[in-house]
Every structure is written in C-alpha cells, then in structure tokens.
Amino acid sequence: MRKVAMRGLFARKLRLALTVLAVVLGTTLIAGTYVFTDSINNAFDTIFTVSNRGTDAAITPHKTIDTSNNGGTPPTVSARVLEQVRQNPKVADAEGSVFDVATILGKNGKRIGKGGAPNFISSVAEVPRFQGFTVKEGRKPQNADEATIDAATADKEGWKLGDKVCAVATSQRKCYTLVGTTQIAGLSSFGGAAVLDLVLPEAQRMLGKGTGFDEIEVAGKPGVTPQQLKTELQRTLGPTVDVRTGKEQAAKESKDIRDNLGFLKTFLLAFAFIALFVGAFLIFNTFSITVAQRMREFALLRTLGASRRQIWRAVVSEGLLLGFVGGVVGFALGIGTAALLRALFKAFGADLPSKGMVIEGRTVIITVLVGVIVSLVASISPALRAMRVPPVEALREGAVPIQHGHRRRMAIFAGVLLALGIGLMCVGLFGSLSSDSAAISFMGGGAALTFLAVALLSPRLVRPLASVIGRPIERMTGITGQLARENSVRQPGRTAVTAAALMIGVALVTFASIFAAGAKATINNAIDSNLKSAFVVQNTDGFSPFSPQVLRTVDRVDGVSSVSGVRFSEAKVKGTGGNQSVSSIDPRTFLGLYKLDMKEGGDAAVNNLGPAQVLVKKSYADANDTKVGDTLQMTTPIGKHIAQKVTGIVDDKGGLLADLTVTNAIAQTQFGEPKDAFGLVGTDPGANQAAVKQQIKTLLEQRFPEAEVLTNKEFKDNIAGQVNQLLGLIYALLALAIIVSLFGIVNTLVLSISERTRELGMLRAIGTSRKQVKRVIRWEAVITALIGGVLGVIMGVVLAVLFTRPLDDFTLSIPVPSLIIVLVLAGLAGVGAAVLPARRAAKLDVLEALAYE
C-alpha cells in the first residue's frame, strides 16, 4: 500500500514539485531568520570574548536601575577605585578604560555612518593584555594628538595613515593624526559602528568622563583564579561597583546586545510566520487539488480491497514526506535567505556584523519540524475526503464530484472563528494586559483567526466578487474574459483559498500603509499644534543627546529670543513596577516654546517648577491614581533617592514629555544627565527666520557638528522619512508572504489546467489561437488576484481602523491613492503569476490534449 502511495506521488512530478515548493517557501524565512540572527549574535559573542580575553576581572559602576535603553549618560567608576584595586595584593595589573558615544566627522565635516550606525570614542589600553583591538596597520596612538580607527571605517571614508580625523563629543571638535587602523577578532567591522581610539586621558577629556572610567580591567597575580579575584574585589570595593570575571563580563556585554537585538528576531520571525501562514493556505490547496484529481485512483484502490485507514495513511504519509523534504529544502535555502536579509538590512542602513553563517542544530530541527507539522495539518482534511470516497466512484464516468455537504457546518465554524478572532483582538486592544507583548500576541492571534474565518467564508464571496471584477473584463475582451471569469468560479473553494492567501499579504500591506500614514499625520498635527518654536535642534543621528553648550551658544545668536532644552532619563518610583520614563525641562523658557494642556496646577506649575517638584502626565496620573500634592519617592540611575512633590498634571498632545517631568538642573545633579536630547529655539518677533536659521546652522557646523538645526517643516519631513524607511522594510519583508501567495496562484492554475487539458485541446482544435488560450489563463489569474486584493484591502482597512481606535489622538487617514496602487499591483501580480501556467497551456499538443484522460 505504501508502495502504491509513493508511486502515485512520483508519477506526477509537477504536482510533487509544486507541493514541495509550497512548503519550501513557507519555511525558508524561518530558517533564514535563525541563521541571520545567530550569525549576528555569534559575531558579537566573538567580539566580546576576544576583547575581554586578557581580563581576569572587570569593574563597572553599579547601576541602581538599568538604563541601557534610554540613551542617557551612564555613571562612571572613580579614579580612587583604581588606586584601591592596584594596592590589592592579589592584583598583578589594573587599568581603567572609557568607551562612549561620540561623533566622528567625515571629510565633509559631517557625521559619518548612514542611518543610525553609531560612532564611538574608546581609550587605548597601556597594558597589552587588556587591549581588545589589535592594530592592523601602523601603531597605537601615543599622545593626545594621535588616534587609530577601525579598518572598515578607514576603508569606507578613504582615510590613510597620516590623515587628519576630527571628532566631537562632550568636548569640542578636535582633529587627530591617524597613526593606525584596528580590527577585532579578525573582524574589521564592528557592525557598522565607527570606533576612534585615543590615549586614555584624551578619551576621558573628549567624553567628559573627568578622571572616571567606564570600566576597570584587572589581572590577578599568578595562582589567583578569576573567581577568587572577583570575590576579593567585590568585598573590598563595596556595593557601588559591580565586579565580574572576564568571562562573565563578556557574557554580560553579549547578553545586553542580544537583549537589544532580541526584538530583531521577534520582528523577523513575525514576518516568517506570516509567510508560513500564507504558505499553509497554499499547501492545503495543493493537497486538496491533487487529492481531488486522484479520487478515481483512491476509489480503485478501495475496490481492490484497500481499507479506509490505508487510504488515510497513504495521503497523510504523503503529507509528512513532502513536509519533510520541503522543510529540508526550506532550511537549505534559508542560508541564502539569511544572506538576503543581511543585504536588506544593510540597504536600510544597518550593517550588522557577521563572521560567517552560523547554523545551529536548533535551526534545522525547527525548520523541518515546522514544515512537517504544517504539511501534516494541511493534509488532514484532504486525507479525510480521500478516505471517504466510495469504491463505486472508480467505475463512474467523468470526474468525481466534490462533496459540498458541509457548507452549513463550515459557515457556523467560520462564524465561531470570526467571533473568537475579534474577541482576542478586543482583549489585546482594550483589556488591561500587563505587557505590550502580550497585547500584541493577542491582537496578532486574533488577526490570524479573523483571516482564517474570512478565508473559510470567502467561497461564498468568490462568485459575486468574480462577477463584479469579471464583467468589465468580459465586456473588454469578449469570450476570453467570459471563459476566465467562468473558470474562476468553477471551484469557488479553490479560488477562495488561493485568493485568501494573497488577501493576507495585501491586508498587511494595506494595514501598514494606513498605519504609517496615520502616524505621519498624527505627528504632523502634534508638531503643528504644539511647537511654538521656530526651530528644533537635535543630534545629527536623530536620537543621541548633545552637549548643553550647544543651546547656550545658540541662545546668543542674533534674533533668537529663547531656547529650551529637553532631556530624558529613567527612574524607579516607589509603588510602581519597572522603570518610569522621566523627562526634564527648562521651566523658565519651556512654555514659551511648547504648548501644554495643563489639567491641574496651571501654567505656574511649569513656570515655577522647583528642584523638589515633579509634573505628571495625565495618563500616568490616571493609571497610578496620582494627585497634586502627592510625593513620589524616586530612585535615579546614579543611585540617588529623591522625593518629588507633584505640582501639576499635564496633557501633552505633542508627545514630547515623558510620564514624569523634572527640571534640567535636577536631571543633571540627581539623574546624572548633563546633556540635552532635544532643543527648542524661538525667534524674536519680526526676525528674518531664514537668516537666523542660517546663522545657527553655520555656528553648529563650525563648533558643534554633532548637532543640527531644523525648521518645523524639516523636522516633520525628517520624522516622515524615518516612518517611510520602517515602512519600506516592512514592505520588503511582507513581499515574501506576497510572493508565496503568488506561487499559490501559479500552483492552482497549473493544477487546474492539467484538469482542463481536454477542454484546452478542444478549444485549440476548433480554432482558438495560442494567444487566446494564454489570455484566458491570464485573465483568470487577474480575477483571482483581484479577489484577493479587494478582500485584502477591505480587511486591511478594517484592521487599521480597529487597531488604531485605542490610540489617543491618532489621526486616521486612509491613503486612497496608495490603496488603488495596491489593487493595480495585485492585478499585475496576477499577470505575472499567469506567465508560466499560460505558457504551459498554450504549448499543449492539440492531439495529445484531446486524447488526455
């Protein structure tokens, strides 16, 4: 029996190939994601292991709260700690180092690195064993006027030894003579980041570290194990610092970066599962069609004495085998997909480091398992149908009719799924879930169920939709259009599943474009209605904080009336879980440049904001039942405990401020945040705006190249650009799901054509030209694609409206032209999908086709 099943399988190579292709397409992005992210993690692991190789113990400042995400300025370890460490009898050697964000200037005087690729300044170790970088060319810097830079950056910028390289950080611009290039663990690139190495005192001065360090590396005396050294140091130095062994430090640095990049894996896997979900439709459809086409064969087997169970097993084992093969091929292609992903991210400005592809056992297992499970699930329903075929069908003339007995039950089932899907989405949207990721899981799961329900209901929609879409085509093309339309509704279930696969991709594209358009409109509104300033100042990378000197200097430009800096930090607040975001403002100038809705406390609460006071956002106050007059006990990133009295409750439609807002002075002294993240600049009445802006621009270029000045319009464009870039990435990743669904159209057409071989033979015999045959197939594909497109656009709009409802002040704007383009593209995609099937149909030999059974 198994032999029969397998022979039946290999007898039809085309069907076999198409089914396997469905599994391959569904699984390859999963494998690609794992290989890609594993490779990145491996590269970072290597970097950190190598850079900590000579370190027995590492001392870092103890952080009361983890501020790795807020971009604020971290605390340092004081020079006294180093003295203390050096005097310890177990210590052979110890040295301090600094490493922090800076701005390295290219030959044009502007920040290097496109996208958000960061620039760093690092100190060079005196003690060779502590030196993570190796010199590739030239030598180490020996005085405050020399520097080395990573080889990849030197290459990219065309810098040679002896060139001048300038940088800016907390201290002002300084230029260095390049005396060498560096690499780490054989990797010339640190993931797109540029690293400029200076001698320690110069690095400390540039980064504004004073005499402090970001880390102290320690080597133990012979016979002292790293673990002993760690225990000894932690005991003698006390709780203000963290001591780790070199290995632990490497693991921690690695983990920090993994945590930061963790979203990347989740993000990519989400798209991989979308593609797989779409692929499942394709697998199911292919199985259903191939089983339907072999009904006579199964009936014959039943007549010859095969049991129902044997038939069932034959079909399911076919599914398992195809799933396995598809999974294995999907995995193999995943390596190529990983390379594509890398290229994609590089194109979007994120050059992630790589040290060869990393293929873990887990990747193989997951990919193959997913392929097998999806195929298994997809083959169950066709297997049931095959099992139930009555033996007598073998003797009947003509094709075995497909049973439609379960229509009603199917509709009820779809209704239940729909209700469940919408329910889950509502829980995600309106339920008070503890975390955002839980909410997103609920919404995603709900959306998936909703898609399934619509797919189940869509056979009923196929006929009316095909009619609406097909009539104009029919009027245009006559008989070919009519045949195409009639063919598309011949097996409504088959067309529906094919179209539903495309629907998912189109719905997500529609959703993303509506969401992005809404986000842009919302931000524009917020900027228009809340910014009273003429210009904004920000870091050229768009997010890093910049020296407070910048705004002080801008304030002195002729025509500038006032400036106001905003800073960001975090704090732990007694009585609430997790970290709270904290912003700080300059109370004297803030309200002159920015519009806030004061819910309580009035403008005075802002203008007179004192050192022991705090402003609270309305949403935070509502959630935590905070009232004016309450006192918030806060722990800051540098470990200070402060008590701040609530004097005002604000509603910030512009979304600039964090939940809690203190003064910039408090941010500096209590939070250790000396830098501004965002600057507002107002002009005198009647001042020539363009002239003032030009003056500020020139000033910044000369003295603070890390900062830039933007008009409100430029600022809006800037944000729109970032939204568009993200949207582009999302489109690129959704493209795979759409390609998978297009293969679904190809698949269905090819299988349908093989069913209609005799009809095509007749059409050709009575004088239908090859061109006309192609046209029939092409229009059928277009109709199927447009059914998917129309359903997708509708679903996308509905989901977008639903999902944006709970967002405060979200301006929903439906980009009608984009949606029309989406539909046109869907139609064109149909034309593309029809190329191969149409060619096959046109190539049929008339006589063979007529004799075909």
């Binding site: 008989i479 011949r490 059409l763 004088g767 239908t768 030209s769 090859r770």
Partner: protein
C-alpha cells in the same frame, strides 16, 4: 459524361510515420483521396488502420511526414501554426466522441463558441434555423451537465455547423451514445448534408453509422483498401469482412 467533381478536400500520397528506427510505425502509407463538396463520407477500418490519423491530417490537427493536403484550395503544408489555427477556426467544424463541450458555458454559448473566438457576431437567422434543426429550443440556457449525452452531442454538431465551415470532421460521434441517440445524431448529420449542403467526413467503426454515409472508405495498414458506395449496415459488414 461524368466530369470529375471539384474536390473540397484532397490528400495526395500522404505518408505519416511515428517513431524512428526499430520503433518506426507507418500509420499512413501513401494515401491519395479526394472529397467533393456536399457529400457525407464514412471512413472505417480496424484499430491501427490509420483512420484517425488520416482524419487528423485532413483537418490540420496533425502534419503528414510527406505528401500534400489541400483544404478548400489551401495547401496545409504551407501554413504555420497560427494560420492553421485560423483555418480550423474558419473552415473546419469538429464533432468529437466525448462531446467536448465547455462545462462553464450554456448550450447556446457552446454553439456560438467558434464564432465568439473569431470575435464575430453570429448570424441570427442561421442560428435559429440551426437550433430548430438540432431540436434544443427549450434547453438552450442549460449547461452541458444538465443535458443528456445525446443532447450534448447535438449541441456539438450545432457548434460545428454554426460558423458554416467548409467541412465537418466527426470522430466516432456515436461512440458514447445509446442506439436511439445515435440514430438521432446521424439523422442530423445526414440532414446537414442534404438540407444545408454541408460536407461531412466521419470516422467510425460502427457499421450502422457508416450506412448513413454516401460513400465508404475502408483503410487497412495505412492504405485505402476500399472506396465506394454502401447503403445498408449489412453491405458494410460484408465489405469489412471481405477486406479484413
């Protein structure tokens, strides 16, 4: 006295070889035959005699290995695939053993299909006459699945007649029909010759069917072994025995 009639379809020394070397099969081995207009010809012969191959070659569905075929004054060997397709569309009608109607079109749409494919408008008067002749007046908006075998085959004949082709080729048209439906169908073909002056060439292995024809050609091993008149099934059977 008897001037040779002008030939509508003619084959001259047609050879058709399938396969090569050891596996070579000569399906047609030098067939020369002509068909005047307005006649009903039956082609018979045992399996493998080459009767279907001859019909395919005469209809422009297959090409001879050597020899020439002229249909309504056109030498088929000179035509490329496109022109051959157009010729089939405009000058040839087909009736197949297994009806071969399009299941997605109703009876009327199936009948006018060749005209629709050519992008022309049907001649309504002719169509009315045709539909009347095939006797499907009240079933025109039914799809093939709602028609009996005999009705489907009559739709197929109407389709073949619709564009008033020069010649209709029928390949075992009664092969899938019961005897009553067969009789009705053959009567219809006979009428199309007698009333409309249609030329019909029919391949069959049914002696009763062949007896409706004006002329009987019998093939054996790729050659014509008999060409003459045959009016009753008994005569046909005797003839077949004689050549068999």
């Amino acid at each position: 006295m008897n001037l040779p009639e002008p030939l509508l379809v003619s084959a001259a020394d047609v050879v058709r070889v399938y396969g090569e070397g050891e596996a070579e099969v000569r399906a047609l081995d030098g067939v020369t035959v002509g068909f005047p207009a307005g006649r009903f010809t039956a082609i018979m012969g045992p399996s493998g005699s080459g009767k279907s191959t001859l019909m395919h070659i005469l209809a422009g569905l297959d090409r001879p290995t050597s020899g020439s075929v002229v249909l309504d004054g056109v030498e088929l060997a000179d035509l490329d695939d496109k022109r051959l397709t157009d010729l089939r569309r405009d000058k040839v009608g087909f009736v197949f053993q297994s009806f071969n109607l399009l299941p997605v079109l109703d009876a009327r749409e199936n009948i006018v299909l060749p005209i629709s494919i050519a992008g022309r408008k049907p001649d309504e008067a002719w169509l009315t006459r045709l539909i009347d002749a095939v006797g499907l007046g009240d079933r025109l908006d039914h799809r093939p699945s709602e028609l009996s075998g005999g009705q489907q085959q009559r739709v197929a004949v109407a389709r073949a007649l619709a564009s008033r082709p020069a010649v209709i080729f029928a390949d075992e048209p009664t092969g899938n029909l019961d005897s009553k439906s067969s009789g009705e169908l053959l009567e219809l073909l006979r009428r199309s010759v007698d009333e409309f002056g249609q030329t019909v060439i029919m391949v069959t292995h049914d002696a009763v069917a062949a007896s409706y024809a004006d002329r009987l050609i019998v093939l054996g091993d790729g050659r014509i072994v008999h060409d003459g008149e045959a009016h009753t099934p008994e005569e046909v059977l005797d003839l077949m025995k004689a050549v068999g």
